[in-house]
Each structure stands twice: as C-alpha cells, then as structure tokens.
C-alpha cells in the first residue's frame, strides 16, 4: 500500500488562536437506517462512543460519531484501524441495505484552538455560534467561506473541522486569516 499522507501534512498557523491540521484521520461514511439497533451497536463497538442524536456528535477519546443527515453517520477512528472497522460493520450489517465507505483520504481534518476560536469560526460560517446555542457535542454541516465543511466542538476552546481534501488548503488559510484578524469581542 502507498504511504498515506494528510492533505497539509500537519501544517500549523500558531497564534492566540492556533489553526492546526489534524494529520491522518480515519473517516468512514455509513449510510443506512440510523434507527437500526444493529447499526447503532456496531457504531458504538468500533468507536466506543454512544450513538449521537440528530445534529449531535459524540466522542470517545480521539474517536467520534457524528450525525450527518437522517440516513448518514460519520465514524472517526484511527487511520490505521479504518479497514478493521469497516470489516466489523460489514459483518454486523450483512444482508441489510447500507453503505460503509472509507473516505479518510478524501477529506482533511483541521483544528482551531484558543480562547476566541468561537469567533474565528463565526467569521467564516453562517451559523449562530453563541454559547447558548452551540456547545461541545453539537455538530453542524454548513459552509466555511466558499466551501462545504462540517464542524463540532471538542471542548470549550477547540473546534474540529472536516472538509474535502481538495479544499483543505483554502479552508486552512481562511481560518488562519480569521484567527490572525483577532477577537471581535461579540461572544
């Protein structure tokens, strides 16, 4: 197998709010009936996280489960474990109507870390990110600047962002520029 490298190879834009590429991350798109008990239990088995409710993401260490749409979930596992996780899903859902696909290398993971990371994100996304409406555990698919992205909060000061690999450089520079611009003081 070829030597896998992440889109930006761990690029970092340091500052009061740091923008950092997350490196290799295993990502599996799972489409199917999300109310299916077998589907929920295998998702829990491969990540250790409980199955998320609508619009939420759940985490267990660096693993995560995210609710993408009424029939789609995103599974985050270590990059090296992706094939094993898909094999487990295939085994558990054998004979059912579903799709589990390894999209790890089609996407990029970026972190925005720091005290005003909320404001950095709010500059780029048409989403109400006020602390009263967006908290760790909430998950949102939307656009950042001009490209599609999804993000959630790992903790009070850290956002994790997923975008397509082809626009990773744009997304990284957009967020780095927003971070460099400083805090707005709105939240």
């Amino acid at each position: 197998m070829s030597n896998a490298v992440s889109a930006l190879q761990g690029a970092v834009a340091p500052g009061e709010v740091t923008v950092r590429e997350g490196g290799l991350q295993g990502m599996i798109t799972l489409r199917g009936d999300l109310s299916n008990a077998k589907l929920k239990s295998v998702c829990k088995a491969v990540t250790g996280a409980t199955f998320p409710k609508m619009g939420k993401a759940t985490m267990s260490g660096d693993n995560a489960l995210a609710w993408m749409s009424p029939d789609e979930a995103l599974i985050l596992v270590p990059h090296a474990d992706t094939a094993d996780a898909i094999a487990k899903i295939d085994k558990a859902l054998k004979g059912q109507h579903y799709l589990a696909e390894n999209l790890s290398d089609a996407r990029a993971l970026i972190f925005v870390e720091g005290t005003y990371s909320r404001e950095v994100m709010a500059k780029a996304a048409p989403v109400d990110l006020h602390p009263s409406t967006f908290q760790p555990g909430d998950f949102r698919r939307t656009r950042l600047g001009q490209v599609a992205a999804a993000f959630w909060m790992k903790d009070d000061d850290t956002f994790a962002i997923i975008c397509f690999r082809s626009v990773a450089d744009y997304t990284f520079k957009l967020l780095a520029a927003a971070a460099k611009g400083g805090a707005v003081g709105h939240f």
Binding site: M54, G55, M68, S69, P70, P126, R143, A148
Partner: protein
C-alpha cells in the same frame, strides 16, 4: 436574508446554506397525459405576490429537499415541512390563515 429551519436536521439554515428548487407540490404528468398537461407540468409556474410554497434543498447541510411556506412580498416564513407529502400540513395552513386570512394557492386555501 431568508433563514429556514430544515425539518430533516433541525438546524436554522441561512439562505447561503440552501438551494432554491422551485415550486412545491407540482403534480407530475407523464406518459399518457395530454400535451397541454405535460406542457403545464414542465413550464407553467405560479408567481404569486403573497403566500407561496417552495421546495428548498439543504445543500451545504444534510442534503435533503424540504418544503417551505412563505410570503414573497414580506419574506415572512410561515413554516417548513417534510417533502414526503402531497399537501401542506394543517398546522402550516392554520399559521398562514392567521397571518393572511382568505389566502389561496393552487388547490390549497
């Protein structure tokens, strides 16, 4: 700026998160229909000033199509609802009646 609540993922989506998909509740006329019916199905659209029903797609979000009822003159949104329906739910109709008594749109009122 229009903000619609997506009934499939529950998020308030800004107009830039969405894609307009034209008029809602079109009745399809396919094989076996007359030329006039097919022509109207393809080309004939309502263009009301006031209450209107539209299809939208949450294109940057969950990717689902949904329906929205709104006023084209004031941009007031009466509500959004599932696309898996042939007519607006009664709750949406009641909301419109409260705001625009005597409204009608296509076969609905």
């Amino acid at each position: 700026m229009l903000t619609l609540n997506c009934p499939y993922c529950g998020k308030d989506a800004d107009e830039t998160d969405l894609h307009g998909e034209g008029e809602a509740h079109l009745k399809r006329h396919g094989p076996g229909s007359s030329d006039d019916e097919f022509h109207d199905y393809l080309f004939q659209r309502q263009n009301p000033k006031g209450v209107h029903f539209e299809r939208w797609r949450h294109i940057y979000g969950c990717g689902k199509f949904f329906h929205a009822a709104r006023c084209t003159a004031t941009l007031q949104v009466f509500g959004t609802y599932s696309a898996q329906t042939l007519e607006p739910p009664q709750a949406i109709k009641d909301t419109i009646t409260a705001a625009r008594p005597g409204w009608s749109w296509g076969d609905f009122s």
